[in-house]
């Protein structure tokens, strides 16, 4: 395979990929008198359009992605992102819509936002939504701020947020930024929240419980109502991390479980593409009592006119510029509209079917720490394979040789050597079977030929990369000076 150089290595004076029309006003150098200007942006690229196109086309082909194949990253809901939604979101009218345009001239945009809020509220059983958070983590932060604001209003912001030990890393981090101490709640042998542990920890110092449902093991917190009762009894709130909504959409609603605040990840359940790490969107839904605290602006309607309400004295304030990731929201609205209720329900049903098919097919080959029924994902571990010196990372890297993307390994922390598998509803049986076949083969190899796992991957664009030295001796950019010296 040809190695693709850095663009800087292709750069040379005199090449260009861009032309600007003639300046049609007089050019006056003196404008910049007394202002420090730059003559040259050292090392900045100069290449031709062909070179740009080839550079990015070639680089693109070194990526795995949903459009190429199975991508069972647990907790990430790597479902197919419908292309029509990309087209709808990139219409020239939207692309040229200025966020500070007079409100009467962008009524269509406001209607789209409002409609999305309404449909998300209906889907989750919450009373009101803000679409502003840019991603799940910002949603969590906003959600915690709402809770804090409510407590503050009652005179005491409280100190602690309870978080199960199975939670995603953003949960404690968000709680912390919001000024709370994090206290971990143990999981029980079913993998769900230990209600006794919760009861003991649930004091009047606790602002909220952050719960993920189904949790990161894919297990439904079946005592959720009891849990909510315990928390509410002490004046706390239930915050639900809705990252796993793909298991529940059209089946049941967090609002009906007495959840007070929830964030959704539109780039998971609602199909917007992950783009190699964003942009996403992390709308936050609340029950009526928390609505006054929502970040500004809030979209309101008066007769046929929508407007942006910023006069909200109890609001936590502004959490980002403008109104959220509008283009992402457009895609998710298109997705909801394309499905309707039956279609929405079907995604959960099939996501759970696919996941359970994988679980069933692999349960003899890989260790499943928790036996509870699971919904949209399941978490195996490398326990059987560790006998042969094989860790989850070796299994993961070997999967690459089969043209498949590995599962999530970095969490949940309660499963050592985790292999967290979420197939989503858009996969075909053929793709599931290819994955199952590869995993079985790997389990066999682990016993019979562990070296092949240790040295994997073998046929990828690069082989196993040295992450340790990358962190120890960070090279974080191409260096013009070093390169120049090298060349001379």
């Amino acid at each position: 395979m040809i190695r693709e150089p850095l663009i800087f290595e292709l750069s040379a004076k005199g090449k260009k990929a861009f032309s600007l029309q003639q300046l049609d006003v007089p050019s006056k150098k003196e404008i910049l008198e007394n202002i420090p200007t730059r003559n040259d942006i050292e090392g900045f690229p100069q290449v031709s359009e062909v070179e740009i196109v080839r550079h990015f086309t070639r680089l693109s082909q070194t990526n795995h992605c949903v459009d190429i194949g199975f991508y069972p990253l647990g907790s990430c809901t790597m479902k197919y992102s419908p292309k029509i939604n990309e087209k709808l979101a990139s219409s020239p009218d939207f692309m040229l819509s200025h966020p500070l345009a007079p409100q009467d001239l962008i009524q269509g945009n406001l209607e789209i936002l409002k409609r999305t809020e309404e449909l998300l509220a209906e889907t989750t059983g919450m009373d009101a939504f803000t679409l502003q958070p840019s991603a799940g983590a910002q949603g969590e932060l906003v959600g915690m701020m709402l809770i804090r604001a409510s407590h503050e209003e009652k005179g005491n912001p409280r100190k602690i947020v309870l978080i199960p030990d199975s939670a995603h890393g953003t949960n404690p981090s968000s709680a912390h930024i919001c000024g709370y101490q994090v206290r971990e709640i143990k999981s029980n042998e079913k993998g769900t929240i230990n209600v006794d542990d919760l009861s003991q920890n649930m004091t009047e110092d606790v602002a909220a419980l952050m719960i993920t449902n189904p949790n990161t093991l894919g297990v439904f917190e079946d005592e959720i109502k009891k849990i909510a009762y315990i928390v509410h009894a002490k004046g706390g709130f239930i915050y639900m991390d809705g990252a796993n909504m793909n298991a529940l959409a059209g089946i049941c609603r967090p609002g009906d479980m007495n959840v007070d605040v929830i964030h959704l990840n539109l780039h998971k359940t609602f199909s917007t593409p992950h783009g190699g790490g964003g942009p996403g969107a992390g709308p936050v839904g609340v029950k009526r009592k928390l609505e006054p605290f929502l970040p500004i602006p809030v979209i309101e309607r008066e007769g046929n006119q929508y407007f942006l309400d910023i006069d909200r004295p109890q609001s936590i304030g502004r959490v980002r510029s403008f109104f959220g990731n509008f283009a992402v929201i457009v895609k998710s609205l298109a997705y909801i509209l394309s499905l309707g209720f039956e279609g929405l329900k079907e995604i959960s049903e099939i996501a759970v079917l696919n996941s359970n098919y994988i679980r069933k097919s692999l349960e003899k080959d890989y260790y499943l720490k928790y036996e509870s029924p699971t919904l949209h994902e399941c978490v195996f571990s490398d326990k059987f394979q560790r006998e042969y010196g094989i860790q989850n990372i070796d299994i993961a890297k070997r999967l690459i040789d089969f043209g498949l993307h590995p599962p999530t390994m970095s969490f949940p922390l309660i499963v050592h050597g985790a292999l967290m598998i979420e197939p989503t509803e858009t996969e075909s049986k053929r793709d599931l079977d290819l994955f199952i076949g590869a995993m079985k083969q790997i389990a066999k190899e682990a016993k019979e030929d562990p070296k092949i796992l240790k040295s994997a991957p073998h046929i990828s664009y690069v082989r196993r990369l040295d992450e340790t030295s990358a962190a120890r001796n960070p090279i974080l950019k191409w260096d013009y000076q070093t390169d120049k010296v090298k060349k001379e």
Binding site: E4, L23, S60, G108, S134, S173, F326
Partner: protein, 448 residues
């Protein structure tokens, strides 16, 4: 529409393998009482054509595109070469996750590495992260970062920092022991240096200011940075219009410690406000405090160059509540667009675009100042935005221009009550001379 890939036969076979006879059984772990009894009140499923129709109707309620517009204020209309759209829409860029498996993500990772390089080059800083949500959260993260580094309770913000960024900073620091104070602007439209000198002290962690600032004026980064450093405070430069970096000296060369801001101008459509692209660059010494993803270069077992996400001990998935930030999903695809944009317009192109912006804006400023009843509000040098004060109620002028299909400027009174009948104009390379002349004439008429 349905995006399921199972045939009827597949479903049956899979249910059999699992040992269930209905899909409902899959949800037996959910208490019955929690399950939906009735269908959700969602619209009927739409076909592609119906979706086109729905959004077509919604769009037709937007009238903004029928106007000749000169608004900026943190969101800029620049020409985006078509290959930015074309290349960024490839499935291989749109549909991967964050590159957790580097061996399957070299495209994304190398591009982040190139992005970090061009951002470092433009800002003149040692290192850049892989992106933040937007300019506002960039500013807020910079404040938190400065506090982590300096540990002192005071943060000074220029009054001319983007009003929304100021608000977001305030929201973010609400639950952190940081006090923010604002620094006035001078009649030049720059930071009032006296006011700054008075307020800065040894308790100050950072001075946060924007250049070109919200009212269009280019700040004296060097002077402010020097003063900040004298008080062991960080100089945090916010850039909301980074096209300016094509011509203005890099903040890093003028003493900035952290440069953050909004890179929407780099090939990201206006999109009614999002997704945009927060960027952040800093000196090498602050690396361990930088929020967000970072890509680094390494080698594979055969010694070939490759890229990985690195320094993740700063991040939430490792550090949990002690992470530098809670950010996880960021704006990678927007950073990809910015990378394609910058590599396409290139060294000469960026300079030229910056030059067009400054020349056109100053041409407009000059022309408008000849109009009777119009006054240039600030004396400082402007890049592509400027403030004018009118002899007539701004809202009346605004309405008059609206009837001529012109959205001329952003009224400033709602942001700065003292700036009565002042408005912020933005001119970029997409405006032709004739557009500017049309504006000038219309304003002239509105004041007669």
């Amino acid at each position: 529409m349905s995006y399921i890939s199972l045939s009827d036969k597949d479903k049956k076979e899979m249910m059999k393998a699992i040992g269930i006879s209905s899909l409902e059984e899959l949800f037996s772990s959910i208490p019955e009482e929690l399950k939906l009894k009735n269908a959700l009140r969602l619209p009927q499923a739409h076909t592609e054509q119906e979706l086109m129709c729905y959004f077509g109707k919604a769009r037709s309620k937007n009238k903004y595109s029928e106007y000749l517009s000169f608004i900026g204020g943190g969101a800029y209309n620049h020409y985006i070469p078509f290959i930015v759209d074309y290349l960024s829409s490839r499935g291989e860029f749109l549909t991967p996750y964050t590159p957790y498996q580097p061996e399957l993500s070299q495209g994304t990772l190398q591009i982040i590495f190139e992005y970090q390089t061009v951002i470092s080059q433009l800002t003149g800083m040692d290192i850049s992260n892989a992106s933040l949500y937007d300019g506002a959260s960039g500013a807020a993260e910079a404040v938190l970062m400065a506090y982590r580094i300096k540990g002192k309770p005071k943060v000074l913000m220029a009054k001319t920092l983007h009003p929304q960024y100021k608000e977001v900073i305030k929201t973010y620091v609400r639950n952190v022991p940081i006090e923010t104070e604002e620094i006035d602007y001078s009649s030049a439209g720059r930071i009032d240096f006296e006011n700054l000198s008075q307020k800065i002290d040894e308790e100050t962690s950072a001075v946060v200011f924007q250049s070109p600032n919200f009212i269009g004026v280019i700040e004296n980064i060097k002077k402010i940075s020097t003063l900040s450093h004298k008080h062991q405070a960080l100089s945090v430069v916010v850039v909301a219009e980074p096209i300016s970096l094509g011509i203005l000296e890099a903040p890093g060369k003028l003493g900035a410690d952290i440069v953050t801001g909004e890179a929407q101008s780099f090939g990201i459509p206006l999109n009614f406000g999002g997704p945009y692209l927060g960027f952040m660059a800093c000196s090498r010494g602050f690396l361990r405090q930088l929020p967000g993803r970072i890509a680094g270069q390494t080698t594979d077992v055969e010694g070939r160059k490759g890229f990985v996400l690195t320094l993740s001990t700063r991040e939430q998935h490792i550090r949990r509540e002690r992470a530098t930030s809670n950010i996880c999903t960021n704006q990678a695809w927007c950073a990809l667009r910015a990378t394609i944009f910058l590599e396409t317009i290139g060294k000469e192109g960026l300079k030229e675009v910056a030059w067009h912006n400054i020349q056109k804006a100053n041409y407009a400023l000059e022309k408008l100042c000849y109009v009777k009843g119009v006054k240039k509000k600030f004396t400082g040098t402007v890049f592509n935005e400027f403030v004018l004060q009118f002899s007539r109620e701004w809202t009346e002028v605004e309405n008059f221009l609206r009837k001529k299909n012109i959205i001329a400027a952003l009224g400033l009174e709602k942001y700065y009550p003292e700036l009565k009948n002042c408005a912020l104009f933005c001119i970029t390379e997409v405006h032709k001379k004739e557009d500017i002349d049309t504006l000038v004439e219309a304003i002239d008429e509105s004041l007669r």
